[in-house]
C-alpha cells in the first residue's frame, strides 16, 4: 500500500475501540510505516485515521513494538479514564 501523503500518524478500526476509548493500532499498517523517525511513546499526542478518512486526535497509552494503544478523544465524552 502506498500513501501519497500522511494525513495521520496511525490507522485505526472504529470497531476495535473499547468502552474506554482505547484502540490498538499497528505502525506497520499505517501511513508512517516507512518513517524511521516515527517512534510514538506513552503520553505522546497524535492523530488516527480510519478507512472512511475520519480523523481523531488521541494520546498514546501503551506501546509494544509495532503495536500502539491510543486513547482517542471523542467530543462530548467527559470521562475517558482507562
Amino acid at each position: 500500500m502506498v500513501f501519497v501523503s500522511t494525513p495521520a500518524d496511525l490507522v485505526f478500526d472504529p470497531n476495535d475501540v473499547g468502552p474506554d476509548c482505547v484502540v490498538e493500532c499497528w505502525i506497520s499498517q499505517g501511513p508512517r510505516a516507512a518513517d524511521p523517525t516515527f517512534d510514538p511513546q506513552p503520553g505522546d499526542r497524535l492523530t488516527v485515521i480510519d478507512e472512511d478518512a475520519e480523523t481523531l486526535n488521541g494520546r498514546v497509552v501503551t506501546r509494544d513494538g509495532n503495536r500502539v494503544w491510543v486513547q482517542v478523544e471523542i467530543a462530548g465524552v467527559l470521562s475517558q479514564s482507562a
Binding site: P14, D16, W26, E51, D52, A75
Partner: protein, 130 residues
C-alpha cells in the same frame, strides 16, 4: 504457538443485529488489516462488530462512545451470518463480537460483505468532529 481465545457465555439471539461502524470499513484493505491483527491475537481471521442491544442505538452509544463519531453504519443479522457459515464469537467485552472468515481473501470478504446492509444513517451521530 497455541492461542487462547476468551469468549463470553453468550449465544446468538434470534434478533441479534450487529453493526460495523463506517461506510468503507468493509473494504478489502480494512478487512485484511483487521484479519491480520485478529490472527496475531487469536489465531483466527476475524473482524470486529458490535451488537446493538435490543436494537437500541442510544444504548450502544452509551456502551461504545465511539459510535457518536460515525455518520454511517452497516448492519447485519447475526443468525444470517452464522447460517452463511461465518462463526460469530462473543469476544472482548459486551457488546463486542468477532466475525470469523475462513481465510482473508477477496472472495471471502465479498461474501461476508454481502450480508451487511447500508450504509445507513447513525441516529446517534453528533455531527461534531474533534
Amino acid at each position: 504457538m497455541t492461542k487462547s481465545v476468551v469468549v463470553r457465555d453468550a449465544g446468538v439471539p434470534e434478533t441479534l443485529v450487529v453493526l460495523r461502524m463506517g461506510s468503507n470499513t468493509l473494504s478489502d484493505n480494512a478487512l485484511g488489516q483487521a484479519c491480520e491483527r485478529a490472527y496475531a491475537a487469536m489465531g483466527l481471521h476475524a473482524f470486529s462488530v458490535f451488537e446493538i442491544p435490543h436494537h437500541d442505538y442510544a444504548e450502544l452509544a452509551r456502551l461504545e462512545p465511539i459510535l457518536i463519531t460515525r455518520p454511517k453504519v452497516l448492519e447485519a443479522s447475526g443468525p444470517e451470518l452464522v447460517a452463511a457459515g461465518f462463526a460469530l464469537l462473543p469476544t472482548g467485552r459486551f457488546p463486542h463480537w468477532s466475525v470469523v472468515v475462513s481465510e482473508p481473501t477477496a472472495d471471502q470478504f465479498a461474501r461476508v460483505r454481502s450480508h451487511f446492509h447500508g450504509p445507513i444513517d447513525n441516529p446517534t451521530w453528533t455531527g461534531r468532529s474533534v
